[in-house]
Amino acid sequence: MSGTPSHALSRRSFLVSATATAGGLLIGFRVPLARGQSADAALEPNAFVRIDRAGAIRVTLPYVEMGQGAYTAQAQLLAEELEVEIGQLTLEHAPPNEALYSHPVFGDQITGGSAGLRGAWEPLRQAGATARTLLTQAAARRWRVSPSSCSAERGEIVHASSGRRIRYSELVDAAARLPVPKNVALKSPAQFRIVGKPVNRVDTPDKVNGKAKFGIDALPAGVKFAAVAACPVFGGQVGTIDDTAAKSIRGVRQIVRIEDAVAVIADHTWAARKGLAALKVTWNEGANANVDTQALVAECNAGLDRPGVTATTHGDVKAAEAQAASFYDADFRLPMLAHLAMEPINCTVHMRKDSCEIWVGCQRLALARRMAAEASGLPIEQITVHNHLLGGGFGRRLEADYVAQAVRIARHVDGPVKVIWSREEDVQHDFFRYHNHSRVRVGLDANNAPISFSHKIVGPAVMARWLPAFFQNNVDLDIISVAAGTYAWPNVHVEYVRVEPPRGLNVGNWRGVGASRNAFVVESAIDDLAKLAGKDPLTYRRELLAKSPRLLNVLNKVAELAQWGTPLGAGRGRGIALLDDFGSYVAQIAEVTVSRSGQVRVDRVFCVVDCGFAVNPDIVKAQLEGGIIYGVSAVLHGRITVAKGRIQQGNFDDCPVLRMHDSPLIEVHVVPSLEAPGGVGEPGTAAVFPAVTNAIFAATGKRLLDLPIDTTQLRNLP
């Protein structure tokens, strides 16, 4: 999401990681007492730090941990400025609270858009520095010395000239009485001890011994287990239910019917699933009963022929096109995609007469609470949400539909109930990445050099629903992200045609967001244009990037890393892709092998990233590695289809994903930089789509305009 308001935060933050002490760190829940009401005296100058008389330093982490290293990075920022070791911190998931924990750019409590660390970069360092400043002032007063003569070191204030030292815990009372300073000095990068180092992750020790608690692991006392089936036709409702057989199954306690779904409540999940299988349900399939993929694609195709809303325009494309000697024209079609996070969607709810308690892992905690309030009919103050580790997010958990559903079920249940979706339910009731079509026209001069670039994008306006501030002048600011790349086009025109899916077919964000569509389009076009110009794809890009030094730098570095230009065997090829988004600059080169039967294997992917200051270089690498794997799965296999209003896929048999044996070897290089941190969770995914198809182009001469790749088009090619 850049070229958009998210660009406002683009150079602001980044990842770090921390030294975990042996055994890892405690990650717990805070009982949501109002701040300042805690029974024990404590220094709590802001919503992120609380130091008590016993010396416990609790830090509250606003960005959720879904594997991207957010907890480690946030802990690094806080520990750095607090002048403590990460191992001295007790980490807590932030409760839902828009006022305290909203992302500065999104304006809501959101972990996504590769923006978490950029959102945390200043506020969390400020939070730590504020506490440290208060403690320093308290010590200086006690010793009657100047605060500037004191320093903080590993949980103590030190007066170097006299050799006096005092622990933070002994200063808590005095520091808590001091006025909280508005602005405090932050450490410079040269002073960093923890930030910028590949310190160990804080969340992983408990992830190798089974102790880590994901949302699906919540077991409140007396919990029952629910298996649920929503109407298989999206938008449909429950018709009739015959629960005779289901009720006779041992362990089944209750059948719950809500408007669009049925749930079986039982003593354990298997009994619930057996009950669900035995339930005879008829569905009122509603308006979508005949919708199929062909119709959805046709509607997007028609959109390509309609005029759109102007999204961005520079220069005069019309005038340039009037003078063009020839044109490059191409239409690109991207499929629907599901997320398939490893942890299937789930939510545990305890509805009481006047309160509602929720256990879940969610990327939008405050939204979850708001939706729970609406679904429960209770005032929002009565809703408590305990956040957990997320077993993958990828954008799916940026929604909270499952929280609302679980609350609606729990309203009928006495005591807590854990709703777990089957994998099939998880796939079929996803908030999909929707069909996304693009039409590119490039005007060329007599030498086949580009003189204009126009790009029409057809797709839904997810932001209009999901984050209305990012839907401006009838343009979805995410769907047009990086729609022209960063190339030096003399004249650019980007327009947007909004095509929404049928009501009931839910669409949302998917790792890489707008860039995961538009990087494919632009980088494919550039590769074709290089060919038309008779130039090497590397050389051609270099020429158009003269004014983009950071992008040019990563391009040159990746070319070196991948030994661009050295020969590969028959059926093999290399493809380049570039991306300037999320505040980071990424260049990738994929190497593929295409067999005579058209099978594609992605052998290696080289990736160079300049993400500004790398708070934790190893986590940066891990994010790029993982993002690349996620993207390769999609480019090779990702496609969700609809027939008769039903999603046709359901599990890892018909939604194949990369496994170890067919995964590429990946080499990531992180460019050292003191620029402001950029995001790294998504660029790896977005860039690898075109890196792979460009490599296929190099290997076979076949340009694939539709995804996922169609191996039948690649048979018996040179």
Binding site: A229, W270, R273, L276, E424, N651, D654
Partner: protein, 205 residues
Amino acid sequence: MKCAHAVALVGVLLAATTVADTPLEPLRSPQEFDSIRDRAARSKAYFTEAAKVLQHPRCLNCHPATRSPTQGDDLHPHVPLVQAGPENKGTKELPCSSCHGAANAATLGARVKSIPGNDHWSLAPASMAWQGLTTAEICEQIKDPKRNGNRTLAQLEKHLAEDPLVGWAWDPGEGRAPAPGTQQVFGQLISAWIKTGAHCENRSR
């Protein structure tokens, strides 16, 4: 080393097809071939009919051309990439029994409605690979003691007619199309084939 004795593992058929709609394939009984007067021709016809079973995905998946089974009605490579292992029951590190129990296991509500299982779940030995062979080639192979587990024709008949793992093909678990006919009729066809001289079609045909 492992590869040297790589014998077989067992196939699993995670057929994603909706089998409920697939009509059961019939298997003609030996009596239906009475009109063929020529004994050798009749023998060949029995085998050709029996081969509807042998060439069925429920059987072929565990008689693969390599030492890894296939799965589904389209004979796609088994996921995970299991290897036959020393006793055709997978390797010690990833035996068939990681997923395949003593009986078919229901998964409930899933599109893959059951995971196949049998007490004797295992892959056919390398000598008994059928995938890619013609019916005539299978015919020659199946009566060759070097390639049929050192069985006499009588033992072969008993095996095919009565073996519970062979019988799994007609009880493959929910969501999976069974082999044509019944094991009983299949056994009768094999018996009739043997009694008529166990003739095979000309391989070069």
